[in-house]
Symmetry: C2
Subunit: 323 residues, 2 copies
């Protein structure tokens, strides 16, 4: 092991998180720049490179200190070539991100999907704790997934590995999903899905405190639901039960396939913590083989917003090692 | 590449298939010996070794010709150590198979679960056609699975990877499964499951030719169902529809997770060929993301009973290469 730094980059729709990370995964310095989506994101790559240069100088180091760059980006990515088919939030389409960033920085660059990179971060330094077989489920606006098996991200044939948010959980009569189909687990267990379920039944539950909140705030959040359930609101409890039932069923199907050691739950909804995990485990256990549920440990993600840059740094490390 | 032979061994409850295979996967010689289950299978390992010796001599070669032994066995196996936790049909329990066979034969031995080994065989020389991301589904007495991702079998944390027969497909009111739960896909899409479904509804379908067959033969088989459906028997068509609906749903969930290039369907039920694949594709497509279904090609297994020995030979090759 050298004494060099890895660069982790996590590109989001509004900000780009960048960090220098040691080869053992310690954060040395992290910072953010805004995502410049003007002209379909044509300035972004150069701005990342410039920002890295500036920070290296500020820390009184030279570029020789940097080993490689790992980068997580949203959208459909071909990992081998670092080619972005499409990243809607950024504006990129058919863009050779890896090639461009390598040319500008003169460093090796390795790219993966943001959900995968977050899973790698949790595997390396977060709740995954080094587990070689790990499922990472992100419950945010949507439901994202990263699947690690034999220590490697599962990308699949065309980069769709881990698209677990679109596993069907309600076969008939499910809610419409952004993907164009219905009943995907994303329509149920995302923050958006939980809000929708809460809103839909609200008129039939005048006894629930959620009705007063909805009137007062104009909108219900997943957080409102979990808070109400925590103090015994029956309607809110029913929603939590429904959400964890379907999520447990879907995760059980994945676990019967990949037999993970650790299942990391992240994203905004995961802030509910044990209130979410307890019923989730119960439903999960019902739908898995005993040896599978015995092996699988549910944990809340621990890295929060740092998962992306740390996972990206891991990518950089593995890539540099293979060169 | 040397000019040596690989030995593939496929242990079943009644016979043990053994083959010499070239390093490019061509069968040089294959034969069978009965599985000697007396005294909890204590003689089996020695009998395999002796049989290999005898065949080598018969082919006028010496043992130097053999590179390594790969072996597929039923039951729960720890792949790293080649330790069999339990193989009910054989009688083994807590048995160091790899260690024993290596001591007797003085050859390197690599062991894996029989369903996984069959998947490797189809990947190498069968319907998988070298695909690095492959799902192999065996529809026989039960429903077995082998999942290959990044060219590697997914074993998972305690060897339960690919136990897809026990993914729940009917959440409430499903039939009892051998695993102690209900509604597993094995209760629906195995030969046994198809028979059960056919029998259950038989009294309500006097118009179906399946009733006459059941009376004449005393029992219905999955083959009867597919044959009747082929000539337009409405009840039989409904059964095929139900079976492929649930199988399509379960395989879609797996495909949204691992994004396979090839989905190989094997086992006795797969003899129905396109009659099975056509409705299966339709249901599968309904429950997957478009990019996932576009990438996935359904194929009937082509190696039949040879899949095990050829996959075991592949294991031997990879293992010998890594030594």
């Amino acid at each position: 092991m050298s004494n060099k730094w890895l660069v982790g980059v996590d590109i989001g729709g509004t900000t780009i998180k960048i960090a220098f990370v040691s080869e053992t995964g310690e954060l040395i310095k992290k910072w953010e720049i805004p995502t410049n989506t003007s002209d379909n994101g044509v300035f972004i790559t150069k701005e990342i490179a410039d920002s890295i240069d500036t920070e290296v100088k500020q820390l009184q180091e030279t570029k020789d200190k940097l080993l490689a760059i790992g980068l997580g980006a949203p959208g459909f990515i071909e990992m081998e070539t670092g080619f972005i088919y499409e990243a809607v939030n950024i504006g990129w389409k058919n863009y050779h991100l890896k090639e461009d960033l390598e040319t500008i920085t003169q460093l090796p660059v390795m790219i993966d999907n943001d959900a995968n990179v977050a899973a790698l971060g949790e595997m390396w330094k977060g709740a995954g704790d080094g587990a070689k077989d790990l499922l990472c489920v992100t419950l945010g606006t949507g439901v994202g997934g990263g699947v690690i098996s034999n220590g490697q991200i599962i990308h699949g044939e065309n980069g769709m590995g881990g698209e677990i948010g679109h596993i069907t959980s309600i076969v008939e009569g499910g809610a419409p999903c952004n993907c164009g189909r219905t009943g995907c687990i994303e329509t149920i267990a995302s923050a958006t899905g939980i809000m929708r379920i809460a809103q839909e039944g609200l008129l039939h539950h005048p006894e629930s405190r959620l009705q007063a909140i909805a009137i007062r705030e104009g909108v219900l959040t997943a957080k409102d639901v979990f808070e109400a359930a925590l103090i015994g609101d029956v309607y809110a409890e029913q929603i939590v039960e429904k959400v964890t039932f379907h999520l447990g069923l879907v995760i059980a199907g994945i676990a019967n396939t990949i037999n993970p050691k650790v299942i990391v739950i992240g994203g905004g909804v995961s802030k509910a913590g044990e209130q979410l995990l307890k019923p989730l485990r119960t439903h999960f256990n019902r739908f898995t083989l005993k040896r599978v549920s015995e092996a699988a440990d549910f944990r809340i993600a621990t890295l929060g917003n740092d998962a992306g840059v740390i996972g990206a740094a891991w990518l950089a490390k593995e890539y540099a090692r293979a060169l």
